[in-house]
């Protein structure tokens, strides 16, 4: 007791105000959530009111995130904890970049919801509490390097998602989807926690940096080798579940098909990319944990593990998408495939020969940013078709080019971009991943390059099916009625895809800026990372 009392003011010397500012984007989301909780009591349950509150919250959070991004450009901190080394909560270029993407996407999803559901939805507060909750979880997933926080953040992201998938209580399919999602998620989480407990036992710490060092030692010495791999496998299962990587992808199509379209869009991008960035961060820590040259080769099994997982994931996603008739399900499989491509980028920087960690990282960030627009556009169009025709079956798309050219053309652009054809941004994303892989210049890199290219060809087919359905088949159905705002949304996405292709270099430069210095923060070194003293960020006492 005295021991603790002696340093009773553990927070002395920590500039809590500053930390609170740096973590303000996520805090703002939590506050927005509280506001939404309070709203029904104060102003009633009107969907529009709730929507407005949420939009304001998102905007505020976005503005703060932009400001924070400026602050942390030189290096990040590990904060809001008396033990910064534990890496409980990080803010750095990587986390803020993802939070920016997340907020933009959340704005898009909210907008989609506004158009589709705001008139009929009676449970808007609940929906937004869940949406904001999962956003907070995803935001935290990318800004931590502590095993406990990882588990908690994943759960915070997952639990609301289960409820969102089954949000429409009258929908039988939604109920079924949420049940499957829940059970699969619960099992993955349990197994992941078991793995975390083993890792804790092996390393005596929850900080990923220390865990990584111990793991690398085990791998290098062959000592504790198998148990380490088992523990890592368990940990990976929880993350792979969020990524929906093979063999934890089974929930994905079912949950996506059963969920409401806004939720599907949200999960397909936000939850996957959050998990991908989390995995990337872990991978980076593992690389950084290698301080002895002898141990470097030990990363190879990890790289191969992730690489093979990536290859199977994208191949499987593409093939399984072949005969789907539901557009949502097709896009679900497509998102599995894309998760596979993005996993490839992660394999880059676990790779022992890789000094291209940053390259893989910036490729991943770029891909996620592009992927966000592609999916928002595609799901937006699907949403509008569903609203009008009541079905997401491919048959509903028949003759869309005539019935609603302003939807069909963006859809075609988004799909072409998903394939990765120039001149759309999807090409850029894929290209940089391939470049990063190719520059590894070893068998894993080339294996993945070939897999990716072959998969791109395969995927052409099923995306084309939608295009064909829209442009060539026509059964004379009347023109589609769609909200003007929705049309604007999908067209903006399509234009963004063009623009990102045109401004590829600025895009690349930006994403490279956002991946600078992340290494040190990830290792929870907690202090100013940028060597340049020009913009010192206050160091945190340990």
């Amino acid at each position: 007791m005295t021991m603790w009392l002696a340093q009773s003011n553990a927070w002395a010397g920590i500039d809590v105000t500053r930390h609170l500012f740096l973590f303000s984007p996520m805090l703002t989301l939590v506050c927005t959530m509280l506001a939404v909780v309070a709203c029904p009591i104060i102003v009633g349950r009107s969907a529009k009111t709730i929507g407005a509150v949420v939009v304001m919250g998102i905007i505020a959070s976005f503005i703060l995130a932009v400001r924070v991004a400026g602050e942390v450009a030189g290096g990040g901190i590990s904060g809001l904890s008396t033990q910064p080394a534990s890496g409980m909560l990080l803010v750095d270029n990587l986390s803020i970049a993802f939070q920016l993407i997340l907020l933009i996407f959340m704005g898009g999803v909210t907008y989609l919801w506004w158009m589709g559901s705001s008139d009929s939805e009676e449970n808007a507060p609940e929906f937004f509490i869940l949406l904001l909750g999962s956003a907070v979880g995803m935001g935290l997933m990318v800004s931590t390097s502590n095993l406990l926080m990882i588990a908690l953040a994943i759960e915070t992201a997952s639990l609301p998602s289960y409820a969102m998938v089954g949000f429409d209580k009258r929908d039988r399919r939604g109920a079924e989807a949420s049940l499957k999602y829940l059970i699969f998620g619960a099992i993955s989480a349990a197994i992941m926690l078991y793995g975390i407990s083993l890792l804790y036992g092996l390393s005596g710490s929850l900080s990923v940096a220390i865990v990584a060092q111990h793991c690398i030692q085990s791998l290098a010495s062959g000592h504790n080798l198998v148990i380490t791999l088992v523990a890592l496998m368990c940990l990976l299962s929880g993350i792979a579940f969020k990524i929906s990587a093979f063999p934890f992808h089974f929930w994905c199509p079912d949950a996506f098909e059963g969920a409401k379209i806004e939720v599907t869009a949200w999960l397909s991008v936000a939850s996957k990319s959050a998990a991908l960035i989390l995995l990337a961060r872990l991978a980076m820590v593992f690389c950084a944990g290698v301080s002895a040259p002898e141990a470097i080769g030990m990363l190879s099994p990890l790289a191969w593990g992730i690489g093979i997982m990536a290859a199977i994931t994208c191949t499987l996603g593409n093939f399984a998408a072949y005969k789907q008739t539901s557009a949502k399900r097709l896009l679900a499989y497509s998102s599995i495939a894309h998760a596979g491509y993005m996993l490839m980028a992660i394999a880059v920087f676990v790779h022992p020969h890789s000094d291209h960690g940053q390259e893989g990282m910036s490729a991943l960030l770029t891909y996620i940013a592009i992927y966000m627009f592609m999916n928002l556009g595609a799901f937006g169009v699907v949403a509008m078709v569903v609203w009008d025709t009541g079905s997401d079956n491919l048959a509903s798309f028949t003759g869309l080019l005539r019935r609603a050219p302003l939807l069909a053309v963006p859809m075609i652009i988004c799909l072409m971009s998903l394939v990765g054809l120039p001149p759309f941004a999807g090409f850029i994303g894929k290209w940089w991943i391939l470049v990063a892989l190719g520059r590894l210049n070893d068998s894993l890199g080339w294996f993945l390059v070939i897999t990716a290219v072959v998969n791109t060809l395969i995927s052409l087919y099923y995306y084309m099916r939608i295009v064909v359905q829209m442009s060539l088949r026509d059964d004379g159905q009347p023109a589609l009625s769609f909200p003007l705002g929705g049309m604007a949304l999908v067209n903006i996405c399509a234009i963004a895809l063009f623009a990102m292709f045109g401004f590829a270099q600025p895009l690349k430069t930006t994403s490279e800026q956002f991946t600078r210095n992340i290494f040190d923060t990830t290792m929870a070194k907690t202090v100013v990372v940028d060597a340049a003293p020009a913009q010192p960020i206050e160091s945190v006492q340990r």
Binding site: M33, G137, I227
Partner: protein
């Protein structure tokens, strides 16, 4: 019917044993916090600890196997209760009194009751049973059996980041302190999470107007 009654008796006995040995275990571990909250020095509990461990471990294993082989959901829940109690006992033996307490209070007292509510609300008859196919049971047996073999092999041979002997348990105040310093963020996040889940669960379970 006889079978079920037998099981119930066994379970009840286990429960009684578990609860009554809890305080024993706490003492045996020699690590309970005294009233001032300062931890005592570690002292191996000798034969009592060994005995209690084997009782608790056996109870936990039997309960877990009971969960596996129960075909009825209510009985599974009861077996789970046994398992939770035994685990709480193990926590006591590990000198983690606080965890043991919340294991009993939150887990056995809250979570399990919630599960039983779930069972009651979602069954036409609480004794309804869905049988898995034989092949599935067989597959699952093989998989989990193999898994257990491998795991126990690995767990016993591994080098853990531990010292050789047990040390004194930590005081509850230390836990509380660390929750508000090092683990402040997870602590708050858990609060947020519980609120979200409450809202979500309430929404899903609520009867629509």
């Amino acid at each position: 019917m006889f079978r079920s009654r037998f099981h119930t008796i066994v379970l009840a006995a286990l429960g009684v044993v578990a609860l009554s040995t809890a305080s024993l275990a706490s003492d045996a571990a020699g690590s309970g916090a005294d009233h001032s909250g300062v931890t005592q020095a570690a002292a191996s509990g000798g034969w009592l600890e060994v005995l209690l461990f084997y009782i608790a471990a056996a109870a936990a294993c039997v309960s877990a196997l009971g969960v596996c082989y129960s075909r009825n959901i209510v009985r599974m829940a009861v077996w789970l209760f046994g398992a939770l109690g035994s685990v709480a006992l193990l926590y006591f033996l590990l000198a983690a009194n606080f965890i043991a307490a919340i294991q009993l209070i939150v887990y056995a007292g809250g979570t399990l009751i919630l599960l039983v509510f779930g069972v009651m609300l979602t069954s036409k008859s609480p004794w309804a049973r869905f049988e898995a196919r034989k092949i599935e049971v067989f597959g699952a047996t093989v998989v989990s059996g193999t898994l257990f073999a491998c795991l126990s092999l690995l767990l016993t041979r591994a080098h853990w980041a531990t010292t050789d002997s047990a040390v004194a348990g930590t005081a509850m105040s230390a836990l509380g302190h660390s929750l508000l310093t090092t683990y402040l963020v997870p602590f708050e996040l858990a609060g947020v999470l519980l609120m979200i889940v409450m809202v979500g669960a309430a929404h899903l379970a609520r009867q629509d107007k």
